[in-house]
Point group: C2
Chain length 342, copies 2
């Protein structure tokens, strides 16, 4: 019994050449039905599994894509990866995951790994600590298809899939205005990350569109964490004129704010409104439930893969039109911001 049968093994058993077996296995049109049958039968008897490594080396295609995320543990990215995986598998592609842990060094290592593995394409959500983009231009120079999702970079011209963060923030802020809150603050995120920058812009635009004066002291730069949310709330509540609502750039920050506000015996949403962003899982289970903006994570994953696949399949054609898919944010108004009945 052969431990790992090869095409040659099958060929020998049938007194044909490896080429014939290869063709039979890949359903080549000019192979007789009888040989196909017999090849298939011997293959299954020998428990033959195709060797993709050999096939990849020869054909230059690995049917693997690489995905770099800041962390697989953050629900958002886990969910996007889920979306990527699902479509990828449908199309016969496998997915390699690499976590950058938000550092530039890991991100570079991830790219190196993927290039060495000769993946057919790469999907990246840029790390917080990444400023230098030479590793990405490197990928481009090697003509390996590359698509950014969520965390993009505008300096370098790479196709991307994002949601409209500006619009999401605008909707969130305007919702708080609609609910009758008068002094709306914003707990923002790291401004060099585009999504957070855009959310701040959306917040400011919503104020402006409603003739509300922007107050610098109503901005607190938080850091995607419960703790910084608490600090944000402490800051806001210490002001001479404290806000009566906060739009947080991200759900964990919103959660921290909620905890701090509750600790101060301020009632939510009656006296204080809160909106988050990201639709993390916990939001609908906390008390009060957290209003937030859903980012269509699974769809984002699916779209990212489809865009990448498109690039992979049309690599040769120089239709390098800069592609960009912008998904629509979906507001979820829950208890933390709803003081009017809908």
């Amino acid at each position: 019994m052969i431990l790992r049968a090869t095409i040659s093994n099958i060929a020998k058993e049938l007194n044909v050449t490896p080429a014939t077996v290869s063709r039979a296995l890949s359903n080549h049109p000019k192979i007789s039905e009888k040989t196909k049958k017999s090849v298939l039968s011997v293959a299954s008897r020998l428990n033959y599994k195709p060797n993709k490594v050999a096939s990849s080396l020869r054909s230059g295609k690995t049917f693997m894509i690489g995905v770099i995320v800041p962390s697989a543990e953050i629900n958002f990215f886990g969910s996007v990866v889920h979306g990527i995986e699902r479509v990828a598998n449908t199309y016969g592609y496998n997915v390699l995951i690499y976590q950058s842990n938000e550092t530039y060094e890991h991100e570079v290592k991830g790219i190196e790994t993927f290039l060495a593995a000769r993946v057919d394409g790469i999907l990246v959500s840029i790390a917080k600590d990444t400023f230098n983009c030479s590793h990405f231009t490197d990928v481009r120079n090697r003509k390996v298809p590359l698509v950014f999702f969520d965390r993009t970079n505008n300096d370098i011209n790479i196709p991307s899939v994002v949601i409209d963060d500006y619009l999401g923030a605008f909707i969130a802020t305007e919702h708080l205005i609609d609910q009758g809150y008068k002094n709306i603050a914003h707990a923002s995120g790291p401004q060099h990350i585009k999504v957070f920058y855009d959310r701040l812009k959306g917040y400011r635009s919503a104020l402006q569109a409603n003739n509300i004066k922007f107050k610098p002291e109503y901005i607190y730069q938080a850091n995607i964490s419960i703790d910084s949310g608490k600090k944000a709330a402490a800051h806001f509540l210490s002001l001479a004129q404290p806000p009566d609502a906060v739009f947080a750039a991200e759900d964990f920050t919103a959660l921290g704010i909620m905890k701090e506000v509750k600790a101060n015996k301020i009632r939510i949403p009656e006296e204080f409104g809160i909106m988050g962003f990201a639709n993390e899982l916990f939001g609908e289970h906390i008390t009060p439930t957290l209003s937030t903006i859903d980012q269509q994570t699974v769809l984002m994953g699916e779209e990212s893969f489809k865009m990448l696949l498109n690039l992979i399949e049309h690599k040769s054609e120089e239709t390098a039109v800069q592609q960009k898919v912008v998904l629509c944010p979906i507001p979820l108004f829950r208890e933390s911001s709803l003081r009017k009945k809908l």
Copy 2:
């Protein structure tokens, strides 16, 4: 300029043979420092990246492992994968992820994919719908290292990493007893999955150890979901003698129970105690915070990989001692079950 430089390209530039370059790149001891230097310099000038596909074909090692999880979106598995990834990358291994979506068919497909990709080893957490294990014995027959984590199967003799579910359940139940609850029910999970079976056993043992009579009507078989948790609670509350505490086999079930109990204006933990299992992220953010059992997910991932690596590296040696790592569950007593001051 060569798009993708190979070892031969470097060799030609230096008038040496590919073999020399290969050795220089892999730091072979018998290569002079000068040649190493020059090879490295030319390599970087040509932007050479090693072709792992070719290397794998030749060496028979891919430095890739495959991981099959029921779903990457469930926090528990995402977190384990995180642990796997971290150690794997440290050891120079890459990780392929495959989601079974709890179905047997996908699981088989995942195994096929991994065997075709010639991964060096496979890590699996068995799907809910899997009863037939021939695909696993198949892997074993091909001498591909295989390790189960969390969701194991006792019929087939495969090394595994699990936590002591029995003990966790015992601790959870006894804690409720300690807190003075008198009628403790159990919302269990699918019994053909070993972890849930063991948790039920642990529950029963704890009762017995404390001379509490087991009541069949205090068992409700839930289904790892908020909804089934609600149904469980509704069932328990409808009993002639309703319980005053529930140990749920899993956090989402516990959450459903909590929602239903709160909806009935029953105070937690004063009138009703709840314990979950899994330490899902939301538990510490809901009101009241959920007491639960932590499963050491990241550690589980790390241990799983280490065990697999050990098998990979000692493949030839026939020291096929059945390995099993059992991690210790860590109780987290929070508001939902603490009515005595600690």
